[in-house]
C-alpha cells in the first residue's frame, strides 16, 4: 500500500542513494536526471545515466539541482515517442515537467509505461543565464535555506515564484522538500502509487503517514498566488500592448522549440503555408504603406497561444531562451490561466482528463454562440 518513508539521511543524499540503488539492483536500466557536463563540471544538462557510480558522492549526477536546461517532459517524449522502453527507466522531474509530460501523453507524444516518475515539492529553478560559467554554485546555500523555510528565492524564474501547482501528487514517488526544516538530516519520500511502492521495496526507512500538503506548503500556495496576481497585472494587453511587447521579437521561434507542449515536427508557422508570396507583400504595401519583414511576428505569438495555451504548464523555458528578453512565460501563463479557467481545465492534473479542444459537451459555453 502506498505510504511515506522517512529516511535518516539528507534529501540530497537520499535521492542519490535511491537512484544509485535502483540502478545497481537492476530495478531500472537507466535514470534521466540532471548531471554535470564539461571536464570541470561547469555545465548542467539532463543525462540518461546507466552507471550507478554517477550517483555516488562526487559523481556527475545532481538530480535536485535548481536548474532546467530543458523541460524534462519534452525529453521523456523524445525518449518514448516511438514506444516505451523495454526495461524500466526512472526520471527525476520537477512538477511542471511532470504536468507537461502528462499533457504529452494525452497528445500521443509520450508513453508512461515502464517510466518511474520521481518528483519533489518545488521551490523553482534559476533562469538559464544564472547558470553560465558555474555562477550558480554561489546561489545554492541561499536556495536551500529558502526551501527549508517554505519560501522561494527571489532570483528564480518569475513563473516559478508565481507557480501554484508545485505539489506533484501524480508522481510515483514525491520527495518532500518545500518547508522541510530538517532537510539536511532527514528526508520523506511520499510513495503515491503501487508502481512507486514496488520500486522502493527494500529501502530502509520508517513508515509514516504524513501529508504532502503540509502547512508550509499551504502557506506557500497563498504567497505564490499573491505574486501571481501581481505578475499578471503587469502584462501589457491590447493590440498596441502586444505590438510594443513583441516589437523586439526577432521571429526566431526559439520559444516554440523549447516549449514541451509544442510538439509539431514542422510548425505551421515554419511551413509553406506561412510563407508569403510577392503578391501578398505588394498588397500589404498598398494597404498600409509598409510591412515588417519577416512578417507574422504577432501572428505567430497569438497562433502559438491558440495552439497550446490550454496545455501550458508555466515552466518558463520560453522566457529564458528568448534572445530579446521578452517576458513570454508571464504573458503566456496569464493567457493560459484564462483559457484553462474557461474550460475548468488544469493541464497535467490527471491523465484521463481529456484536453478541452479534443472533446465537447452538447450543453456548454452558451455564452459563445450569438
Amino acid at each position: 500500500m502506498p505510504e511515506s518513508l522517512v529516511i535518516s539521511k539528507g534529501a540530497e543524499e537520499t535521492t542519490r542513494e535511491l537512484l544509485r540503488s535502483l540502478l545497481e539492483s537492476g530495478k531500472v536500466s537507466a535514470v534521466l536526471a540532471l548531471g554535470r557536463t564539461g571536464s570541470g563540471g561547469e555545465g548542467v544538462a539532463y543525462s540518461l545515466f546507466t552507471d550507478p557510480t554517477a550517483f555516488e558522492e562526487g559523481g556527475a549526477a545532481c538530480p535536485l539541482f535548481p536548474f532546467m536546461p530543458a523541460n524534462a517532459g519534452g525529453l521523456l517524449s523524445r525518449l518514448t515517442l516511438q514506444g516505451p522502453p523495454s526495461e524500466p527507466v526512472a526520471a527525476v522531474v520537477k512538477p511542471c515537467e511532470l504536468r507537461a509530460l502528462i499533457e504529452l501523453v494525452k497528445l500521443n507524444q509520450c508513453s508512461l509505461d515502464n517510466i518511474l516518475l520521481i518528483s519533489s515539492t518545488c521551490s523553482g529553478v534559476y533562469p538559464l543565464d544564472a547558470g553560465v560559467d558555474g555562477a550558480l554554485e554561489e546561489k545554492l546555500p541561499g536556495y536551500w535555506e529558502a526551501v527549508k523555510q517554505g519560501e522561494v528565492d527571489e532570483d528564480v524564474r518569475p513563473t516559478c515564484r508565481a507557480c501554484v501547482n508545485f505539489v506533484p501528487e501524480n508522481a510515483d514517488i514525491t520527495i518532500a522538500l518545500l518547508g522541510e526544516a530538517d532537510l539536511d538530516t532527514q528526508c520523506t519520500l511520499h510513495v503515491n502509487t503501487e508502481k512507486g511502492a514496488a520500486f522502493v521495496e527494500g529501502l530502509e526507512g520508517a513508515s509514516s503517514s504524513g501529508e504532502l500538503e503540509s502547512e508550509p506548503v499551504q502557506r506557500a500556495v497563498g504567497q505564490r498566488e499573491a505574486f501571481r496576481e501581481e505578475l499578471f497585472a503587469g502584462v501589457e494587453v491590447g493590440m498596441q500592448g502586444l505590438i510594443r511587447t513583441f516589437g523586439r521579437c526577432i521571429g526566431c521561434h526559439a520559444c516554440k522549440t523549447v516549449c514541451p507542449i509544442c510538439y509539431c515536427r514542422l510548425c505551421y508557422f515554419d511551413s509553406q503555408d506561412a510563407e508569403r508570396s510577392p503578391e501578398f507583400y505588394e498588397g500589404e504595401l498598398q494597404r498600409k504603406g509598409g510591412l515588417r519583414v519577416p512578417p507574422n511576428t504577432v501572428f505567430f505569438q497569438l497562433g502559438r497561444m491558440a495552439h497550446m495555451s490550454v496545455s501550458c504548464v508555466g515552466c518558463g523555458m520560453c522566457t529564458d531562451v528568448c534572445p530579446a528578453d521578452i517576458p513570454l512565460s508571464t504573458l503566456f501563463s496569464k493567457v493560459a490561466a484564462s483559457a484553462q479557467a474557461l474550460f475548468e481545465y488544469q493541464p497535467g492534473r490527471e491523465v484521463t482528463e481529456e484536453i478541452p479542444l479534443r472533446t465537447f459537451e452538447q450543453e456548454e459555453l452558451v455564452q459563445v454562440a450569438t
Binding site: 537507466a30 552507471d51 525529453l75 526566431c252 505588394e282 519583414v293 511576428t297
Partner: protein, 388 residues
C-alpha cells in the same frame, strides 16, 4: 580586397553635413519619390523604441524612423531578403539597405535558391559593427550613444565578437556601396553593378568622384582587421581544439537551436537535426547510454554543431547572429567563424563574394584536393612493420 577597390574607380558624392544617417535617409526618400525604386527594405525603429525591425515600405513618411546603420542587428538582413523574395520578385523593384555581411548572406541565399535578387538593389554601407542585442535592449538610449561614439572612433570593442574581427566590412560586391569611412561632410556612393549605375543615373548623380582616399583608408583598416582576425582565430583555436576543450565550450548548450534558427544561411524548413532521422526508438538511446555510462539528453549536441557546420560553414558570412541569440553565452559565432574561414579556404571559396562563384559542394574539379586522398604506395602486408 584591393582587387575590388581597383575594379571601381569612381563614385558619386552626397553631402552629409547633418550626419550620414540623415543624409542617406533624405537621399532614399528622394529616390522613392522619383520612383528610382518602388519600395525600400530598411531597418526602422519599433514602436517601443527598444529595437529595430526590417520594414518593406513605399511610404516615405515611415522613413523618419528609419536607420540605415542601426546599433543592433536583431534579424539578419539576408534572412529578411530571403523571406521577401523566396517566392519570386513580383512587380516591385526593391532597394535593400543592409550591412555587408547581410548582403553577402543574401548572395549566398540566392545561390542556394532561397532568394531572388533580380529586382533587388543591394545597398551596403561601411560597417563599424553592431552591439550584441542583450547589451542594447535593457537601455536602448545608452546603447545607441555607446554605439555612435564607438563607430565615430573606429572602436570595435563594444561590438559583437565576430564584428570585432571582421575584415569584410566594406563590400563592393553589392549594387551600391556607401563609403563613409573617414567621410568629412561628403560621402561616396559607389556603383558595383549596372543596376547600381542606373540608380545613380535616375538620381541625376554623376559618377565622377575619385575613390583613392577612401579606398586607401578602407584598405588600411582591412589589413589591420585581417591581422586582428588571424590572431583572434589563433587564440580561439587554443581554447576550442581537442575533445576536452570543445566539450567544455559546449558544456552548457541546451540544444535550443537558436543559433540555427537565426542563421541567415540555415534555410531548411525542417532542420535535419530536428527531423525523424534523429528521433529514434528508446532502445537506441538506452544502448548508447549503456555503452558510455550515460547519454546527455536530448542527445547529439556535438553532432548538431559539427553537423550544422558541415551543412553551412561554406556559406557562413561570420555575421554573429548565432552568438547573439545563444541563451547560454556560448561563443558559437566565433567558433563557426573559425571553422568557416578554414573550410572556405580549404575549398578555395569566399562566401558572398560574388553571385558568379559556384557553391563549392555543387562544383568540383577533376584535379584538386589530392591532399585529402590517402596515398597507397606499397602492398602493405609485404611492408616491414616498423616499431613505433
Amino acid at each position: 580586397m584591393s582587387e575590388k577597390s581597383a575594379a571601381r574607380s569612381s563614385g558619386a558624392t552626397l553631402k552629409a553635413e547633418g550626419g550620414v544617417a540623415a543624409a542617406l535617409v533624405g537621399w532614399l526618400k528622394e529616390a522613392l519619390e522619383k520612383k528610382v525604386f518602388d519600395a525600400l527594405l530598411i531597418p526602422v525603429e519599433v514602436p517601443a523604441g527598444d529595437s529595430f525591425a526590417y520594414l518593406l515600405l513605399q511610404d516615405p513618411a515611415i522613413l523618419d524612423k528609419a536607420s540605415p546603420l542601426p546599433p543592433v542587428m536583431p534579424v539578419q538582413g539576408g534572412k529578411a531578403i530571403s523571406r521577401l523574395t523566396m517566392r519570386g520578385n513580383g512587380s516591385k523593384r526593391v532597394a535593400a539597405v543592409v550591412r555587408p555581411c547581410e548582403a553577402r548572406a543574401a548572395i549566398e541565399l540566392s545561390k542556394l535558391k532561397q532568394a531572388h535578387l533580380d529586382d533587388v538593389c543591394l545597398i551596403t554601407l561601411d560597417c563599424p559593427g553592431v552591439l550584441p542585442l542583450s547589451d542594447y535592449i535593457g537601455d536602448p538610449a545608452a546603447g545607441a550613444a555607446r554605439f555612435a561614439e564607438a563607430a565615430a572612433e573606429g572602436d570595435r570593442s563594444p561590438m559583437r565578437p565576430t564584428c570585432q574581427m571582421c575584415n569584410h566590412f566594406s563590400l563592393l560586391g553589392s549594387d551600391l556601396h556607401v563609403g563613409t569611412l573617414g567621410a568629412d561632410g561628403t560621402i561616396l556612393i559607389v556603383p558595383g553593378s549596372s543596376k547600381g549605375e542606373r540608380v545613380l543615373e535616375g538620381m541625376g548623380m554623376p559618377v565622377d568622384a575619385a575613390l583613392d582616399d577612401w579606398s586607401a583608408r578602407v584598405e588600411e583598416a582591412e589589413q589591420a582587421q585581417t591581422e586582428r582576425r588571424r590572431q583572434a582565430h589563433a587564440d580561439l583555436r587554443e581554447t576550442v581544439a581537442g575533445a576536452e576543450n570543445l566539450l567544455d565550450v559546449f558544456s552548457s548548450c541546451i540544444n535550443c537551436h537558436n543559433c540555427q534558427r537565426v542563421c541567415p544561411v540555415c534555410y531548411c524548413r525542417q532542420c535535419y537535426f530536428e527531423s525523424a532521422a534523429l528521433k529514434l526508438p528508446p532502445e537506441n538511446y538506452l544502448a548508447r547510454a549503456g555503452r558510455k555510462g550515460a547519454l546527455r539528453f536530448s542527445p547529439d549536441t556535438l553532432l548538431f554543431h559539427i553537423g550544422r557546420a558541415s551543412h553551412m560553414a561554406l556559406s557562413c558570412v561570420s555575421c554573429g547572429a548565432c552568438e547573439d541569440a545563444c541563451p547560454m553565452d556560448i561563443p558559437v559565432g566565433q567558433v563557426f567563424s573559425l571553422m568557416a574561414d578554414r573550410a572556405q579556404e580549404a575549398l578555395g571559396y569566399v562566401a558572398g563574394r560574388s553571385l558568379e562563384d559556384a557553391l563549392p559542394l555543387v562544383d568540383y574539379e577533376m584535379d584538386e584536393l589530392h591532399q585529402v586522398e590517402q596515398p597507397y604506395v606499397e602492398i602493405y602486408c609485404k611492408q616491414e612493420v616498423q616499431d613505433a
